[in-house]
């Protein structure tokens, strides 16, 4: 690992100031993606701006219509939250199956969505639930947030501060985990709620998470696993790698989606 300067600001404003003053600086939340990247010398930031000193960025709140999770809230905290389990059980269950216990004790929702790893779980939940990403300057709809593999609509000096999830009527997430890393080889999050029926697929797309509109149409007419029987998934635009070919991933999308609808009930 190359050396870097280290800052631990105590407010979002100070973090943004540090970030804006140094284009080669990087923010760190849980470090569960960033530190392995630094260890492999795949990145060489001039400075690390550690967000863990910002109290304001931690916490979960539930209102009548939405669950809001602040950016530095760990996966473990979401998984264990009685409020999240009650309002959006599918979200708590998803968080409980990210990586392993030690990854969940450090990794955060803000870091996960800002990173937009094509195999990450949170992007599926954010897109399917039609969440709104709050940053230090604006609010971004999920549909506009994920712009491609490892890329998002965030400006270089913009921070995720929270994610607001509308509470759905029904939702479920099912993933086929990579047996070594637990990342999603394919994960499908289905939701029926204020934003209609939404189906988000993670792990499969070469450009990261995407909505499966053909499945959404079929499920809007008939919310049942059988409705997906004849809905195919195009191999074009999917990822093929040593873990799974495009064909296999396309097949898994259908299987995971049916299981997710069955689970949502």
């Amino acid at each position: 690992m190359y050396d870097f300067a280290y800052h631990r600001p105590s407010s979002v404003a100070d973090a943004v100031k540090l970030l804006a003053s140094d284009p080669d600086a990087k923010v760190m939340s849980g470090g569960m993606t960033l530190i392995p990247t630094l260890k492999q010398r795949l990145a060489r930031p001039s400075a690390i701006i550690d967000l863990s000193g910002i109290r304001d960025l931690v916490g979960i709140s539930v209102s009548a219509g939405a669950v809001t999770i602040k950016a530095m809230t760990t996966h473990a905290a979401v998984a264990a939250s009685a409020e999240v389990k009650k309002a959006i059980p599918a979200l708590a269950a998803m968080a409980e199956h990210i990586g392993d216990a030690q990854v969940r004790n450090r990794g955060t929702i803000g870091g996960s969505i800002a990173n937009h790893d094509p195999a990450a779980d949170y992007p599926g939940a954010v897109l399917a639930l039609g969440a709104t990403v709050h940053t230090n300057t604006r609010k971004i709809a999920a549909d506009d947030f994920f712009t491609g593999m490892f890329s998002t609509a965030l400006a270089p000096d913009e921070l995720v501060t929270a994610v607001e999830f509308p509470i759905p009527e029904k939702a479920a997430y099912v993933k086929f985990p990579n047996p070594a890393s637990r990342y999603a080889m394919v994960g499908v999050f289905v939701a029926k709620g204020p934003a209609g029926v939404r189906v988000a697929v993670t792990g499969a797309g070469a450009n990261g998470v995407f909505r499966h509109t053909a499945m959404e149409e079929a499920l809007a007419k008939n919310w049942s696993p059988d409705a997906l029987h004849d809905v195919g998934t195009a191999e074009e635009g999917l990822n093929g790698d040593i873990h799974a070919s495009k064909e296999y991933r396309a097949h898994l999308v259908g299987v995971m989606a049916k299981r997710a609808v069955a689970k949502a009930g």
Partner: protein, 167 residues
């Protein structure tokens, strides 16, 4: 060089480190606590697990400077001063839950956190799932699961003495 001051195994400790120094390097190279191991470069194996402020973490994936003021517990901090083993350590010995022993410090630290977070008790399956972040290349996990299942009974006060392994 930045100085980091923290509590390790109940005692104050401090060291001059670089910003890039990992917690595991602080423990092993500066404080000479070599019970915590490094088994991979990818944050996957769990040989390096320690407790920071009560939660199990991979010490290879945290910076030493992030531990300013933190309470860290390592495998060296588990046994009583007179050498009496922690129930989890005792169970690993009794149930022969190790072969080469390389993964053992991390296994024991993860297992203690897992048991403490689940006062209702864990099934064998839940124990296996709870150990997803710890890889063992020798044992096939079977005796590790048995050891944890036995240790949780002692840790939750269900039994006074560790149930003995069958001969």
């Amino acid at each position: 060089m930045p100085k980091v001051s923290l509590t390790v195994n109940g005692k104050p400790a401090s060291a001059e480190v670089e910003n890039r120094t990992l917690l595991v390097e602080l423990l092993r190279e500066h404080l000479r606590l070599t019970g915590t191991h490094v088994g991979c470069d990818t944050s996957q194996c769990g040989a390096c697990v320690v407790h920071v402020n009560g939660a199990s973490v991979k010490s290879c994936t945290m910076l030493a400077v992030q531990c300013e003021g933190a309470e860290v517990v390592t495998i060296e901090g588990l046994a009583a001063p007179d050498g009496t083993l922690h129930p989890m350590q005792e169970a690993f010995r009794e149930y022969h839950a190790l072969q080469c022993g390389f993964c053992t410090p991390g296994m024991v630290m993860s297992a203690i956190d897992l048991v403490q977070r689940n006062p209702q008790g864990l099934s064998d399956r839940e124990i296996r799932e709870g150990l997803e972040g710890n890889l063992c290349r020798c044992t096939g996990y079977h005796n590790i699961v048995r050891a944890i299942a036995a240790a949780q009974q002692v840790m939750h006060g269900k039994v006074k003495e560790l149930p003995r392994a069958a001969e």
